[in-house]
Symmetry: C2
Subunit: 333 residues, 2 copies
């Protein structure tokens, strides 16, 4: 048995007692849907540096916190945030049950128009829609309504279920980080309870690692039991600087990696970049009008303007969807 | 080799390849500081039922969420919540730096009297003390001040460091649950950032599993970097029904086990008990005036009145400190 054969034999046998288990894993491409560009290299380089126990950039497992925006970062957000499609559906259902609502806003627009009309009408209309449709139920009822909607609803232009419009390359990134003992968190402007409906099955992110906007809750005790009632007011509107505050409140430590796609993520990325050790902050740039959408500085949804300038000034990787990704959405089963 | 010898040999060899590893663990007493009373039995029985994959009460690992009050449940809270001792120390330091403060409340009482005087003066004084001393710094500065205080401060009557006044039986319970793949959370009325200073080293509970009261935070960006400034107002005062709301916001699922010691924990226990599967809700009753303190219905700190009645009515275990615990505090090293 020569040296090469010995090594081979040892590596074939070692996995049985737990020794070489990670060798085949390293050999396979951890990010198969990513083209081998600078953005991908910077991610892999970062992960290899912080997980190398003998290197100067090693980060202990407990501190490997990675935060992800959701809309436009983990799944699409065009032509309008998916949660607003859900809100319009809730408004329509409400009118079905109480027809007299149909003469009032936001219900009138919901039944007479399209979800996109709320975007055209501006943020006051969107806010009113959210407050009216995301309150008045228990947290459990809200969650059940979300489950039904995700099962039945289809995206207006692609015809896909919404959970099929997550980004395959980002799913691979989440898995790659998790395999390297990062804990992945969602830090979204979307409603936390809405995201929790699908995040665990879709992203492998459990409810306790979903940080989002929060409606006020009322604790109501009746002879039938205790319920938490969603009431029409925001306890937390999780965007911009509030993302940093929410991260501190929920996690109590600074992330080492942060991913976003809009100016509303900039403070979160800056907070992450300000940590003492090695950090990775990256923006996803929507550049693919064929496979997804192309938008940045002027967009009504997910505007990326100051963020793009900051990324350039600070040499943060900018993931160019068209250039850097081989595929966008998961292969339909 | 007869049958018994064969079993013995297999069990001696199996741990080497990972098979029988848990057998010796089960044999050892998981709660050595607990007397073998009904309270202990109900805990062990619950854990064994929910972890038995073939039993009717099996609970999947992801749902094994256990919540613990802190003051009076995991460590002592007499003669005044330890955080108020810290607050008085902060007030004294502030007067040291700015002597003119010494003529104003709450600083005058802090330098002329004792922490207990704030309790005597009532909740308005306590609140003013907290707001005045727990604000005006960054979250990092506050955390550093906490670290220094925990290193130097000693309890007024026992002379022990505060982190030595945690309950040995509860440390064993935390470890027992963790070994059985529960995730332990603190749900306290105390300031989350204060608790985070010591919770990981003392209880093995990481910062992201500490839920507590929260001061308002301001995101401040300067040329030197970004800081989160604690400002004098409560974003969350985490007591009573608010504990339930905070649990939902942070964890997004209902706990299956809850431990408290005062009426402020009652809603949390009721919320836990209202879950669909098997649950364990227990109160710690302070009955030991020799080794710790004895107090319940009439106490100014940690009053247990409605809670005691509810525990009896619903047959929740009540842990009687004097009767059920062999030791209270950990053996000093």
């Amino acid at each position: 048995m020569n040296f090469r054969t010995t090594i081979l034999a040892v590596c074939l046998l070692l996995p049985i007692i737990g020794g070489c288990a990670s060798a085949p894993e390293r050999a396979a491409d951890p990010l198969p849907s990513w083209r081998k560009t600078a953005a991908r290299d910077s991610i892999v380089d970062f992960v290899e540096r912080v997980t190398d126990p003998d290197g100067p950039d090693f980060v202990p497992v407990a501190e490997r916190v990675a935060v992800f925006d959701n809309d436009g970062t983990l799944w699409s957000e065009q032509p309008i945030y998916f949660q607003f499609e859900f809100a319009v559906e809730l408004a329509r259902r409400a009118v079905g049950e109480r027809p007299e609502l149909g003469t009032e806003e936001p219900f009138r627009t919901a039944i007479e128009g399209e979800p996109i009309d709320f975007l055209t009408a501006g943020s006051a209309g969107l806010l009113r829609l959210l407050l009216a449709t995301h309150s008045g139920t228990t947290t459990d009822e809200f969650s059940d309504a979300g489950t039904t909607w995700f099962r039945d609803a289809r995206h207006p232009t692609t015809g896909l279920p919404y959970t099929a419009m997550v980004y395959q390359p980002m799913l691979e990134l989440l898995e790659y980080l998790e395999r390297n003992e990062f804990s992945n968190w969602i830090v979204s402007g979307g409603d936390a309870d809405f995201i929790r409906v699908f995040a665990e099955a879709t992203y492998g992110i459990p409810p306790e690692r979903v940080i989002g906007s929060q409606m006020e809750l009322e604790h109501r005790s009746t002879p039938e039991g205790v319920g938490l009632i969603r009431t029409p007011g925001f306890a937390v509107f999780n965007d911009g600087p509030q993302k940093v505050i929410s991260i501190h409140r929920a996690i109590g430590r600074r992330p080492v990696a942060a991913f976003g796609n809009s100016d509303g993520d900039l403070e979160m990325l800056e907070w992450t970049a300000g940590g003492e050790g090695p950090t990775l902050c990256a923006y996803l740039h929507h550049t693919d009008e064929v496979r997804e959408w192309a938008y940045d500085r002027g967009s009504k949804i997910g505007a990326l303007d100051r963020g793009l300038d900051t990324a350039e000034a600070r040499s943060w990787p900018v993931i160019d969807m068209k250039r850097d990704w081989k595929v966008v959405f998961p292969d339909p089963q």
